[in-house]
C-alpha cells in the first residue's frame, strides 16, 4: 500500500520539520504542548518507518525504496539526493525511530529546562541519523553525518552534567577531525569516479597504495565513532556528562554509525586494504573487548561502567566484520564470513536496545537520587522491586545471557572466530566472563544487599511512564533473544552480497 511513497524522505524530514515546529511552541510556558507534539511526531515517524520492514524484499541485496533526484552541480560533478536501504541499513533505521520514541517518553517530566529545545534536538537528530543510514550519495551522507553533531553538541552542552562543556567540545572535535579525513577521501574518489555515488565508489578500481590511504582515512572517521581503542576516550566523558536521553541515543545509535560506515564504505571500497590490514582491526577489536572489559570492572560511576561496556561490546562488532579473511585462510571457504558479519549486525541492534535500557535504568535512579556513584546505592530492590526486576533483566542481557538478544550476537561472532583462530575465539569469549563480572557486580552492589542509606530507603518505585518504556524494551530484548530469525532474515541477502563483493580484489589488473 505504500508503493510510490517517498518513505525514506518522509522518515527523514518528518522529524526534522516536526522538530522545527516543536521549537516554534516557544518557551517553557508551553512545555506540555512541546512534549505532546514531540511525542506525536516521534510516533508518526516510527509508524512511517514500519513499512520499511513490512514492504522490504528480503530476497534481494539491491537497494530498495530508492529515491533519486538531481541536487546540484559542484563544478563538473553532480551531487544527487539519492536515498535507498538494504538489509544492513533498514534495521538500523527502525532502531533509530523506535529509540527516539523511547527517549521522548523518558524525558517527559525529567527535562524541565527548555523542554521544547530538548525535544526538538532529539527529533532533528533522529531525522539526520536516518539520513546517514539511507544516503547513497557520499556528499549527502557527509552532510547528514556532520549535521548530526550539531544537535548532539547542544544536547550534551545544555542538559549535561557539571563537566559538560569539556565533554561536548571533546566529542565534537574528535568526530570532526575524523570526518575531515573521510571527506578528503571522498573528494579523492569522486575525482576518479566523477561523482559521489556510493554504489559507483564501490565499483571503483583503486591501487593498493590508494586503498591503504583511503582505508586509514575511513578508519579515522569510523573508529572514533564506534569507538575503537585507542580513540575511545571521548565516549566515557560524553556519556557521563550527557543527559539520559543523550546517553541513550549516543549508545544506541551514534556508535552504530561508525560500524555501519565500515560496512558501507571501508569493506566494499577498500577490500584489499581491509584484507591487508585485517590483523590491525582484529587486534584493536580484541584490545577493546579484553582491556576495556577490565577497565569497566573498576569503574565507580554507573554510566561510565556502561560506557566502557559499550566500547567492549562494539569491539565484538568490528571483530565480526573483519574476521572473514582469517576464516578463509583457516577453512578455505567464506561461509563463516557471513556468520561473523551477521553476528556483528545483530550485536549492534541488540546493543542498541540493551545499552539504551541500561542508561535509562541509571537515569531512573539518577532522577531520584542525583547520583551515579555505585557506592551511593545498595539494596534498591527493597524499595524499588519492579525497577530492580527490569534492571537485573537488562544487566543479564548486557552480560549476554542466553534467551536475551545480547546472547545471539556474541554467540555468532564467537562461532565465527572459532572458524578463524582458536585464540581469537578464546580472547573474545573472555567477554562472557568479564561482561558478566562487571555487570553483575554492579547489580549486586546497587540492587541487592541491605538498604545502604536513608536516601535509598526513601526511594519510590517506577511510575507508569517509566514502566512503559522499560517494559517495551524488555519485550524486544526478550523477543530477539528467543527468535532472532526476523532480524537475520532481512540482512541475509545483503550481507551475503557484501561478502561476495569484498572477496573480489579491486586492484587494477596490470
Amino acid at each position: 500500500m505504500f508503493v510510490g511513497w517517498p518513505l525514506l524522505s518522509l522518515v527523514i524530514w518528518t522529524p526534522i520539520i516536526g522538530g522545527i515546529l516543536v521549537l516554534a511552541t516557544g518557551g517553557d510556558k508551553n512545555a506540555t504542548e512541546a512534549r505532546v507534539l514531540g511525542l506525536v511526531i516521534a510516533i508518526v515517524t516510527f509508524l512511517l518507518s514500519i513499512p520499511l520492514y513490512t514492504d522490504f524484499n528480503a530476497n534481494t541485496a539491491a537497494m530498495q525504496f530508492i529515491e533519486f533526484h538531481d541536487w546540484f552541480y559542484l563544478g563538473s560533478w553532480k551531487i544527487y539526493y539519492h536515498l535507498g536501504v538494504d538489509g544492513i541499513a533498514m534495521p538500523l533505521i527502525l532502531l533509530t525511530s523506535f529509540m527516539t520514541v523511547i527517549v521522548i517518553i523518558s524525558a517527559w517530566e525529567v527535562i524541565q529546562f527548555k523542554a521544547a529545545q530538548y525535544m526538538a534536538a532529539f527529533l532533528i537528530m533522529e531525522g539526520l541519523m536516518i539520513g546517514v543510514f539511507s544516503a547513497l550519495d557520499a556528499a549527502l551522507f557527509y552532510v547528514f553525518w556532520e549535521a548530526m553533531l550539531i544537535p548532539m553538541f547542544i544536547v550534551i552542552g545544555i542538559w549535561g552534567g557539571p563537566r559538560r562543556v569539556y565533554a561536548t567540545i571533546k566529542f565534537f572535535l574528535y568526530t570532526f577531525l575524523g570526518s575531515g579525513f573521510m571527506l578528503v577521501a571522498f573528494i579523492y574518489m569522486a575525482s576518479k569516479a566523477g561523482n559521489f555515488e556510493i554504489l559507483q565508489l564501490h565499483a571503483l578500481k583503486l591501487s593498493m597504495k590508494e586503498q591503504i590511504l583511503i582505508f586509514f582515512a575511513f578508519l579515522f572517521a569510523f573508529a572514533v565513532k564506534v569507538p575503537m581503542w585507542p580513540v575511545h576516550t571521548w565516549l566515557p566523558d560524553a556519556h557521563v556528562e550527557a543527559p539520559t536521553g543523550g546517553s541513550v541515543i549516543l549508545a544506541a545509535i551514534m556508535l552504530k554509525l561508525g560500524a555501519y560506515g565500515f560496512l558501507r564504505f571501508s569493506l566494499p571500497i577498500t577490500p584489499d586494504a581491509s584484507h591487508a590490514l585485517d590483523w590491525l582491526m582484529i587486534l584493536l577489536s580484541l584490545v577493546a573487548v579484553v582491556y576495556i572489559g577490565f577497565v569497566a570492572l573498576v569503574q565507580q560511576d554507573m554510566k561510565k561502567l556502561i560506557a566502557y561496556s559499550s566500547i567492549s561490546h562494539m569491539g565484538f562488532v568490528t571483530l565480526g566484520f573483519f574476521i572473514m579473511w582469517t576464516i578463509f585462510t583457516h577453512t578455505g571457504s567464506y561461509k563463516g564470513a557471513v556468520t561473523g558479519i551477521e553476528g556483528g549486525m545483530v550485536q549492534m541492534i541488540s546493543h542498541g536496545f540493551v545499552s539504551g535500557a541500561m542508561f535509562l535504568c541509571v537515569g531512573v535512579m539518577y532522577d531520584r537520587l542525583h547520583s551515579r556513584q555505585i557506592s551511593d546505592y545498595g539494596g534498591v530492590v527493597n524499595t524499588m522491586p519492579t525497577f530492580a526486576a527490569f534492571m537485573v533483566f537488562f544487566a543479564m542481557a548486557n552480560a549476554g545471557l542466553p534467551g536475551t538478544s545480547g546472547f545471539v550476537g556474541e554467540f555468532l561472532v564467537i562461532l565465527a572466530s572459532f572458524k578463524a583462530n582458536f585464540w581469537y575465539a578464546f580472547l573474545a569469549a573472555t567477554t562472557l566472563i568479564l561482561g558478566a563480572a562487571y555487570t553483575l557486580w554492579m547489580v549486586k552492589r546497587v540492587i541487592f544487599g541491605a538498604v545502604a542509606n536513608d536516601k535509598v530507603a526513601m526511594l519510590t518505585d517506577i511510575n507508569s511512564r517509566e514502566f512503559l518504556f522499560l517494559s517495551l524494551l524488555a519485550v524486544i530484548v526478550l523477543f530477539f533473544g528467543l527468535y532472532p530469525a526476523p532480524l537475520l532474515h532481512v540482512m541475509d541477502a545483503s550481507v551475503a552480497n557484501l561478502v561476495k563483493h569484498v572477496v573480489q580484489s579491486k586492484l587494477p589488473v596490470p
Binding site: 546540484f72 552541480y73 562543556v165 573528494i187
Partner: protein, 490 residues
C-alpha cells in the same frame, strides 16, 4: 614608440571614448550621486541625517539594479583597454553594492548611539565602493592602483572616524603606514613588470608573461605584486594590521572593512595574477601555497586565544583568506569559481557575524568581548540560533553553505592532485572549529549576566535574520550561487 602608446590611456575625450562611456555607467553614476550626497549632506543637520542615509541606500540599490539589468555576459574593454566590463566583474559589483547596503543598514543605530551618525561615514563609504568597483573592473596597472588607492584612502579615514578614541586613531595610523608601504611595494612590482614587458596593460602583460616565463625581472616584479595583494587580503605574513584595525575601529567601520573590500581584493587577485600574470602560474602557485598554509595556520591558531570577538573574527578572516587562496592555487576554472564562491559566502557570513555584534551593542556598551555572548540563548533564542548558523557555517559544518564553499575549494585542489594540501586545510579547519564552538558554548551553555532580550531596530533584526536564513538556505541550494560563479568565469 608603439609600446608606449599601448599603455598611455588616451587623455583626449574623442568620440570613440564617449561611445564607450555606457560601459562604465554604474561607476559614473556612483561618482555623480556620491558627489550630490556630499553636497546634500552640507545642508542637513543631525536630525535630518536620515536624508543622507536614504540617498546612500537608494544609490546602492539603484546601482545594483542597474548592474543586474545591464549585466554584461561577455567581456568588453573600454578606454584604451584600461577598463573591463565582464560577467565576473558585474557579479562581484552587485555583491559589493548589496553588501554595502546591508552594512549601512546594520550600522545605522550603532552610529547614532555613538554620535558618529555623520555624513562622512556614508560619503567615504560610497567613495570606497567606487574604489572597489574600479578595482574590480581594472584592466591596467594604473586602473588597479587608482581603484586600490581610492578604496584605501576612504578606509584609512573611516577607521579614524571616531576622532577622540585613541585606539581608533592608533589603528588608523597603523593601517595607513602599513597600507602605504604595501602600496609602495605594489607600485615597485608594477614598475618591474613594466620594465620586463614594456606595458601596463594586462592584456599585453599576459601575452608577454607566457613567453618570458623565466625572465628574472618579471618574477621579481611578480613577488612584489603578490606582496601588495597579500597585504590587502590580509594573508600571513602581511596580516599584522588586520587584528589591530578590526579591533580598534568602531564596529560600524569594521563591518564595512571586513566585508565588501574582501570581494574587491579577490577581484584584484584574479585580475593581476590570473588575467595578467597567468603565464607565470608555476611561479606564483608556490608562493601562494606558502601564504595560504601560513594564513590557515596562524589565523586558526591565534584566534583560539582571543578574548575580543572582533579580534577573533580578524584572525578567522586571515584563516579564511588562506582557504580561498587554495582555490586560486588550483589554477583551473573550477578552482577560480570555487575561490569566488568562497569569497562571496565568506563575506555574507562575516557580514552577519559583525551585524550580530552591532545588534548586541547599546549606548555605552560595545559588546565586543566573547563573554558578552554568554547565555544569549536564554535571552534571545532566535538570535542565538542565527549566530549559531554563522559560526557553524564559518567552521564548515554542513548543512550550512560554508561547508559547500570549503568542499568546492577542496574539490578543486584535489582535482589538481594536491591531496596533501587538502589534508592540511582540513586539519586546520578542525583546529579552527574550536573557537567557533566556543562562541556557541558561551551562547548556549553558560548562564547570562543579564536577562533582558536583545533590543534593536526592526530593520536590523529583519535583515540580520534574513542574512542567517540565507546561509541556511544556500546550504540546501548552493547551486544558486555556485552555478553563477561557474557561469561568470566560463
Amino acid at each position: 614608440m608603439e609600446v608606449i602608446s599601448a599603455y598611455v590611456p588616451s587623455a583626449v575625450l574623442n568620440a570613440h571614448t564617449i561611445s564607450q562611456l555606457p560601459l562604465a555607467l554604474p561607476e559614473l553614476l556612483l561618482l555623480i550621486l556620491t558627489s550630490i550626497i556630499l553636497v546634500v549632506d552640507l545642508f542637513v543637520n543631525d536630525k535630518t541625517r536620515g536624508a543622507t542615509y536614504i540617498l546612500a541606500q537608494a544609490t546602492l540599490l539603484g546601482l545594483a539594479a542597474l548592474t543586474i539589468v545591464t549585466f554584461s555576459s561577455k567581456a568588453q574593454l573600454a578606454f584604451s583597454g584600461t577598463f573591463i566590463r565582464d560577467a565576473m566583474g558585474d557579479l562581484l559589483k552587485i555583491f559589493v553594492y548589496v553588501i554595502t547596503f546591508a552594512v549601512f543598514l546594520y550600522s545605522k543605530n550603532y552610529l547614532k548611539a555613538r554620535d558618529l551618525y555623520r555624513g562622512e561615514y556614508y560619503t567615504l563609504g560610497l567613495f570606497g565602493v567606487l574604489g572597489m568597483a574600479i578595482l574590480i573592473s581594472a584592466h591596467n596597472f594604473l586602473t588597479v592602483y587608482l581603484g586600490l588607492e581610492l578604496l584605501s584612502l576612504c578606509l584609512y579615514a573611516m577607521v579614524a572616524l571616531q576622532r577622540d578614541s585613541s585606539v581608533a586613531s592608533e589603528s588608523a595610523m597603523k593601517y595607513f603606514v602599513l597600507g602605504a608601504i604595501a602600496s609602495g611595494m605594489l607600485l615597485y612590482g608594477m614598475s618591474m613588470i613594466y620594465g620586463a614587458t614594456g606595458s601596463l596593460d594586462l592584456a599585453v602583460i599576459s601575452k608577454q608573461a607566457v613567453v618570458a616565463q623565466h625572465n628574472i625581472v618579471l618574477i621579481f616584479g611578480l613577488v612584489f605584486v603578490i606582496v601588495g595583494i597579500a597585504f590587502k587580503l590580509g594573508a600571513v605574513p602581511f596580516h599584522m594590521w588586520l587584528p589591530d584595525v578590526y579591533q580598534g575601529s568602531p564596529t560600524a567601520v569594521t563591518v564595512y572593512l571586513g566585508s565588501a573590500p574582501k570581494i574587491a581584493a579577490f577581484a584584484m587577485l584574479m585580475r593581476l595574477l590570473v588575467d595578467g600574470l597567468g603565464g607565470l602560474h608555476v611561479q606564483w602557485q608556490d608562493i601562494l601555497i606558502i601564504l595560504s598554509v601560513a594564513s590557515m595556520a596562524v589565523g586558526n591558531l591565534i584566534a583560539i586565544v582571543q578574548t575580543n570577538i572582533k579580534r577573533m573574527l580578524a584572525y578567522s578572516t586571515i584563516s579564511h583568506v588562506g582557504f580561498l587562496m587554495l582555490g586560486v592555487i588550483a589554477v583551473s576554472k573550477d578552482g577560480y569559481a570555487s575561490a569566488m564562491f568562497y569569497t562571496l559566502v565568506y563575506t555574507l557570513m562575516a557580514l552577519g557575524a559583525f551585524g550580530m555584534i552591532m545588534l548586541m551593542s547599546r549606548f555605552g556598551f560595545e559588546s565586543e568581548m566573547l563573554d558578552d555572548f554568554r547565555g544569549l540563548n536564554q535571552r534571545s533564542p532566535w538570535f542565538a540560533f542565527v549566530m549559531l548558523i554563522f559560526m557553524f557555517s564559518m567552521a564548515g559544518v554542513p548543512p550550512f553553505v560554508g561547508f559547500w564553499a570549503k568542499l568546492a575549494v577542496l574539490k578543486a585542489i584535489v582535482a589538481q592532485d594536491m591531496v596533501w594540501l587538502a589534508v592540511v586545510a582540513v586539519a586546520f579547519s578542525v583546529i579552527g572549529a574550536f573557537y567557533y564552538l566556543r562562541i556557541i558554548k558561551l551562547m548556549y551553555f553558560d548562564t547570562p549576566q543579564e536577562s533582558q532580550a536583545l533590543e534593536g531596530a526592526t530593520d536590523l533584526r529583519v535583515l540580520l535574520s534574513l542574512n542567517g536564513l540565507a546561509i541556511l538556505f544556500l546550504g540546501f541550494k548552493p547551486d544558486l550561487l555556485l552555478a553563477l560563479c561557474n557561469t561568470v568565469l566560463r
